[in-house]
């Protein structure tokens, strides 16, 4: 299905090391193509100076080693967003040996505009017409031979998601430097003719003429600027002339290569009528989200339990070892607990990423933006920002990473800083504990109120930051991708890569924080631990909130590591720590085997009950901790405490994610801002005129 003959000056000789860049519109299957070509071995890297994910994979071709680089999707080399600008920068400053331009067979005319632009860069290039199956379903037949003839490029057809990529390598190897295909309207051609001889390629001359920042010597840019002004003086906008020439050519090529046959079956259109329905749309989305969270938590909880058991056994083994007591405690309660805290996140994240990857690649998540657009606009955000915010209710960490899908850095920043206010799953145990002790009749309303408060504070934060940083009204226009059924392999690969990225990025900081807290809790300082001293030291600060018990205040310190730790810390300081029980070798192994079996069984069980109605279990019997808490603080103080727990500082894992996505300065800002805001709002909450 390829036509290497059609390429002029085919460079069939392969260098020992080559870099091939995959360039194309968003959603054309570039990543699927890399997966199909290179098999396993995707690695996630960071782009120089940016926080965008760049995937690359390696491929061996005889003696040669080829690096396949997946660039972010772009509609044009004339950037319409910073993300797209990066594609141009990468192609110009770090030119690949070959460009594989991936186009959507079902949307060829628009895709070809980018192809035509790329052909002007003077780099060897081949065309991969992907998604042939979808085009066929739309009633479109693409004549690859005619396409190759019309463009003068080697062309291969593919259905990358199904691994049908025969001919792609052949086409890539046949890539030669293409002839620039577009004849522009006369005034633009005249200006180009004056510039082209001194420029390395027609494409660069045109980009300079259009006023794009291209890395070229100053005299060349000055010459381009002069031509540009001449055109503008004569009333010609070079940008519009360039577009006109390209649209014309794209249309011409499209008409030669594509035939319509039969009536198209537009699944997308029909599904959208339902999914974006004015009345049904919203409930349908809430249901989808609910199922996604349920899937995540139901299937991950057995594995989180397993990690907890493994942690217990390992700590038990350490406790039974003949090491000095201090070292034993450090290993068991510091190192093992720290690594365990990191690992306990991974099943939740992996499954949440899996659910998210499904919603994302199937096209559902993009529709959510449609439904939520109004609220987002109120906060000055693009509709797309709804997606990471929703994820924040599950776990703030993947939500912060998900802001990378937003193209404008300011939007990314504002959403990332709003996310830590959203009540993640880890805060729920604290909420329920206190709500049932202090507000037994109104507990569900208190919890719901906290969730809404978090959302409101997050949105207002985004709004105010936008005002303060003078962000424009968020970009609303976005493409709604066609519905697709994503292959499981792709989903697994995506979620594994993202989970790995979390462990590498956030694992270290969490571990350090856990060890630090161990030191605070265990190094004896006189008669009492630094933890108690520190807690007692800061307790007066919390008196205006109505919280006077140092044990409550102290629990906020380890809560910085993960908010669910607050409950554990309260248990230790109110009821006394139990220490680590030593465990024998055989006994430990038996526990581990049992736990593994339980995890497998639990997964199966939860999978079966996934669609059963949710049950809320209220604990009628007050636990010893609940009884102890009741005497420690008045109800209004408890409410203030809950508001504080909801809003104060992101947990270490979120902080590590924030640092990766928006930088250390903004991450520090988030800590300070949240502490102050949490204090102020907790104070207000504690003085609400309520009678619990």
């Amino acid at each position: 299905m390829s036509c290497p003959r059609c390429a002029p000056q085919a460079s069939l000789v392969l260098k020992a090391e080559e870099r091939w860049a995959l360039v194309g519109n968003p959603n054309t299957g570039k990543s699927s193509l890399i997966n199909a070509l290179a098999g396993a071995g995707l690695e996630v890297g960071n782009w120089s100076g940016t926080t965008l994910e760049r995937l690359s994979a390696h491929l061996s071709l005889g003696e040669a080693r080829v690096e396949l680089v997946d660039l972010p999707g772009t509609y044009s080399l004339l950037p319409t967003s910073p993300e797209e600008a990066l594609v141009l920068t990468e192609l110009l400053q770090n030119p690949p040996d070959r460009i594989l331009n991936v186009v959507d067979a079902g949307n060829l005319e628009r895709n070809l505009v980018l192809t035509l632009e790329l052909m002007e860069l003077g780099l060897p290039m081949a065309l991969v017409v992907n998604l042939l199956d979808e085009a066929e379903a739309k009633g479109l037949r693409v004549d690859l031979e005619a396409l190759a003839q019309a463009l003068g490029l080697p062309v291969a057809g593919a259905v990358a998601a199904r691994g049908e990529v025969e001919g792609v390598l052949e086409a890539a190897l046949g890539a030669g430097t293409p002839h620039p295909p577009v004849r522009y309207p006369a005034p633009l051609e005249a200006a180009l003719a004056a510039l082209e001889p001194s420029f390395p390629s027609r494409g660069l001359a045109l980009l300079a003429l259009l006023g794009e920042g291209v890395p070229l010597p100053e005299p060349l840019l000055a010459a381009a600027q002069e031509e540009r002004e001449k055109l503008l003086l004569k009333g010609h906008d070079p940008y519009l002339l360039a577009l006109e020439g390209r649209y014309q050519k794209a249309k011409e090529v499209y008409e030669k290569a594509v035939q319509r046959q039969g009536t198209p079956s537009s699944l997308t259109e029909r599904l959208d009528r339902l999914v974006l329905h004015p009345l049904l749309g919203l409930p349908l989305f809430l249901l989808t989200l609910f199922l996604a969270f349920r899937f995540t938590f139901a299937l991950s909880s057995p594995w989180v339990d397993l990690i907890g058991r493994v942690q217990e056994v390992l700590a038990g083994w350490v406790a039974a070892s003949p090491l000095p007591p201090m070292l034993r405690s450090f290993l068991a309660e510091g190192v093992v607990a720290g690594v365990g805290t990191v690992l306990a996140f991974t099943p939740v994240l992996f499954l949440l990423y899996l659910a998210l990857a499904f919603l994302e690649t199937s096209g559902f998540l993009a529709r959510m933006a449609f439904v939520a657009d109004r609220v987002m606009r109120w906060a000055g955000l693009p509709g797309k920002a709804f997606i990471p915010l929703v994820l924040g209710f599950g776990c703030n960490v993947p939500a912060v990473y998900a802001t990378r899908a937003l193209s404008h850095p300011l939007d990314r920043l504002r959403v990332a800083l709003a996310i830590p206010f959203l009540a993640c799953g880890a805060r729920l145990p604290v909420f329920t504990l206190f709500a049932f002790v202090f507000f037994p009749k109104n507990a569900p309303f208190v919890v719901l109120g906290l969730y809404l408060l978090g959302l409101l504070v997050g949105l207002v934060t985004a709004l105010l930051l936008g005002r303060f940083l003078r962000a424009g009204q968020g970009e609303g226009a976005m493409e709604l991708p066609p519905y697709r059924f994503p292959p499981l392999k792709l989903l697994l690969r995506l979620s594994l890569a993202r989970t790995g990225s979390f462990v590498r990025g956030a694992g270290g900081p969490i571990l350090v924080a856990v060890l630090l807290i161990w030191v605070l809790l265990h190094l004896p300082l006189g008669s009492t631990s630094p933890y108690a001293l520190l807690a007692q030291g800061i307790t007066p600060l919390f008196e205006p909130l109505g919280v006077r018990d140092w044990r409550l205040v102290g629990a906020l310190i380890p809560g910085f590591v993960a908010k669910e730790v607050v409950v554990g810390a309260l248990g230790v300081s109110f009821l006394g720590g139990e220490g680590v029980a030593p465990v024998g070798l055989l006994e430990g192994l038996r526990t581990l085997l049992g736990a593994l079996f339980q995890a497998l069984w639990g997964t199966l069980e939860n999978l079966l009950s996934l669609f059963a109605p949710a049950s809320f279990s209220l604990a009628p019997e007050p636990t010893p901790l609940q009884a102890a808490l009741k005497g420690a603080v008045a109800p209004m103080g408890a409410l203030a405490y809950l508001v504080f727990v909801l809003l104060y500082t992101p947990c270490v894992a979120t902080l590590a994610a924030l640092r990766q996505v928006v930088g250390a300065r903004w991450a520090s800002f988030a800590v300070a801002y949240q502490l102050l805001l949490a204090y102020a709002l907790a104070f207000l909450a504690g003085h609400l005129p309520l009678r619990p």
Binding site: V371, E475, E479
Partner: protein, 75 residues
């Protein structure tokens, strides 16, 4: 000639011009000469789901106002 935002759902139109500075709309396929159709309108008329050629787009009203179209007769 009137803005795309005034097109009622189900009607088809041809794009005549796009307000200057709206590069993203052009890149997404709302280019002069393209056939567009408003598929859906969220409650209160905003946002819109628009089909331009083979592309499905989500547009805010303010963006749809930047695109001038002429109505095509029902095919």
């Amino acid at each position: 000639m009137y803005p795309l935002s005034a097109l009622s759902p189900g009607r088809r139109a041809r794009v005549l011009q796009v307000a200057p500075g709206r590069r993203r709309l052009l890149a997404l396929g709302l280019r002069p000469g393209a056939t567009v159709e408003v598929l859906l309108q969220a409650p209160l008329g905003d946002p819109l789901e628009v089909r331009a050629g083979e592309t499905f787009l989500l547009l805010r009203k303010e963006e749809a106002q930047a695109v001038m179209v002429e109505a095509l007769d029902e095919a």
